[in-house]
Each structure stands twice: as C-alpha cells, then as structure tokens.
C-alpha cells in the first residue's frame, strides 16, 4: 500500500466516529519503488489529499521532505510535485500496523495489504 491510499483510510469500528483519522502507522517496513510521474494526476489530487494528515504521518516515519503547508503555487511547482510524487506514490508500506488514534483499534498490514476487516461485534 502506498501512502496515497493510507491518506484515504479511516477507522470504521462501530461508534468510533471522531478523531479516527489518520491511522497511526507503527512498526512499519517501508520500501521505495520508482514510478512514472503523472503531473496531471497529481494536480487533480491536490485538493483531495488530506495534506495536514499526510505531513504528520510522514514526520512520524522520518520523511521530512514535505513543506508543513502546501505551497500556494503547488499545481505548477515542479519541485513540490516531485516530492509529493515520491512520497505518496513511491513510498510503499510493506508491513506494520495502523492504530486508530481514537479507539486504538489495530489494523494489520501484511504483504503490503491492510486488513480492514472487523469482527462481527465491531461492525
């Protein structure tokens, strides 16, 4: 799973409705894999990314390249788009877990795939 996907997942345990995003990554193994950059796509994603959550998540992973706030000229800022591309589309979470900041539920990531299934009573 790439960080772009992590940026769109939240806890869905029954009754856990607030402060359930972003899920905190713990004990993760990361891998960088090169991918072709698609600027049109990145521009279209700019207003869809939860930027604050992305920066916070990255800092905890010791990825310090993103500016604290998105530049005003982000859409045409090549340097920024390249960093964003590397972070959200080339950074893969191979294993670890995602912990809900609210209810502490653990979602395990194995072989790069997050297990978002809940037990019957948690739905």
């Amino acid at each position: 799973m790439r960080l772009i996907t992590h940026n769109m997942l939240q806890c869905h345990v029954k009754g856990c409705n607030a402060n359930n995003f972003p899920l905190e990554l713990q004990e993760v193994v990361l891998e960088q894999e090169e991918a072709e950059m698609n600027e049109d796509f990145l521009r279209n994603m700019l207003n869809k990314i939860e930027y604050e959550a992305l920066v916070a998540t990255c800092l905890k992973l010791d990825i310090n390249d993103l500016p604290a706030t998105m530049p005003a000229d982000a859409a045409y800022n090549d340097e920024f788009l390249q960093i964003l591309h590397r972070v959200i589309l080339e950074t893969h979470i191979k294993s670890g877990k995602m912990v809900c900041p609210n209810c502490q539920h653990n979602y395990v990531i194995r072989d790069g795939i997050p297990n978002m299934l809940l037990a019957e009573h948690e739905v």
Binding site: M8, R43, N44, M45, G112, M116
Partner: protein, 228 residues
C-alpha cells in the same frame, strides 16, 4: 491500444485457483473486461490519468485493463485474501502498480438517520468518496446473497467522483434503472453482452453457460472542475 490487443494481453491474467461459491467468485472474462475498459477509455475518457477503484476486484483483471490504458492510480477492494494474493501476482507480472484493501463491501449502508447524519454501517473507505474518479465493478449478481449487487452498486456510486462501470444481469435492468433515478444518477445501458461462464463449480450441470449481462455506465453530475 486496439481492443483486440487489450483482450489478447488480458488472456494472461491468472484467475481464481479455488473459487468460493459463497462470494460468487466468477472471473470476469478477458472479452468482457476489454470491452468495458476500452469503451470507458475511448468513448468516455474515464480512465487515462484517473484514480480508479475496483470493487470486489477479485483477481484484478478490470484494474489491470485500466492501468494498461493509462489510469494513474488503482485501488482494489476485496474480502478474500486469496483473491487479492492472485491479483497482486497478476499486477507484478504485468508490472502494474495497484493497492489493495482487504474489506467487506457487503454490509448494507444504513440510512443516514443518526444525529450527525452519519450512516451507521460505514466502511474504512468513507474518505475516498469523491476522490476516486472512476469506479469499476463486476459485482456478485446476488444469486447467493440476494440484493448484494445493489449494495455494491450503491457503494460504488457513493465513492465515485464521476463515473461507475458495472455488469449486471440483463433481467435486473428495469430495477436498476429505477434505482438510478432514485439515487439521482444517469444510467446508460452501454451494451448487452454475453457472459460465458465456464463450469467452475460442482453444482453446475453444463460445461459452460451463457448469460445475458448489461454493461452499464452511471454518471454523477456535474463533473467537478479540474485544475488542468
């Protein structure tokens, strides 16, 4: 890429080794997958540079077809880790980037009647609403779990920013058209196709069976502005 060429490549997508009848796992044929994605790409421009979600992705053939036609981001949802493992291998084989989420799409969303207007049965993908441009699916037809096809479809329409492509039994067409109207989305019957199901389960009496399926396209309006 030509349609025939796409269909040719898709012949190499591996299918379920041990299909689970409970989940109505039938592989989408290369013929159907190619037709769906080729049309979505050439007629409607819903694939190239787009974020594409695949609901009940199974072995991943719809997403692989999308990626071959230039989608920028692919994510697949499925409840079966065995299917996802095959899909992952397929993607590795085709050198395609795709993320997978192990999740249950069958829970019926409750009506938004809670105090804060939030639906009761939520998924982990609520935040993807409006972020995925195009949703693809070949949902279970509901022969084992009645109504599951409509649950998938409603979720897909909720998630999509613009368009949903789906396959349904032709016999359910009137019902779906009525529902689409209720949900405020346009529904177009793009084509009526034959879904050739090879004998995949013991209870199947015939070696293969042709069923009539509708290839449907749903569109949400208006299309939000893009910055490009």
């Amino acid at each position: 890429m030509k349609l025939k060429e796409l269909e040719g490549y898709l012949q190499d997508v591996a299918v379920f080794t041990d299909p689970k009848i409970k989940l109505e796992q039938y592989p989408t044929t290369p013929h159907l997958a190619a037709r769906m994605l080729y049309t979505a790409h050439t007629t409607y421009d819903d694939i190239e540079n787009k974020a594409v979600g695949d609901m009940g992705c199974g072995c991943g053939i719809l997403s692989i077809a999308a990626a071959m036609l230039g989608s920028a981001y692919n994510v697949g949802f499925d409840i079966d880790p065995d299917a996802i493992a095959i899909a992952q291998e397929n993607c590795d084989e085709f050198e395609i980037e795709m993320d997978f989420i192990l999740t249950d799409l069958s829970a019926t969303p409750a009506p938004s009647n809670t105090a804060d207007g939030e639906a009761n049965a939520r998924g982990p993908y609520e935040m993807m609403k409006g972020k995925l441009d195009t949703i693809l699916m070949n949902p279970p037809f509901g022969t084992k779990l009645k109504g599951i096809d409509m649950v998938f479809l409603k979720k897909g329409i909720d998630l999509a920013n613009h368009a949903v492509y789906s396959l349904h039994k032709t016999s359910t067409r009137d019902h779906i058209l009525k529902k689409a109207k209720e949900w405020g989305v346009e529904c177009e019957v793009v084509a009526e196709l034959r879904y050739n199901l090879d004998k995949s389960y013991k209870f199947h009496k015939k070696q293969s069976l042709d069923i009539a399926v509708d290839f449907l396209r749903f569109e949400k309006k208006p299309r939000p502005e893009t910055s490009s």
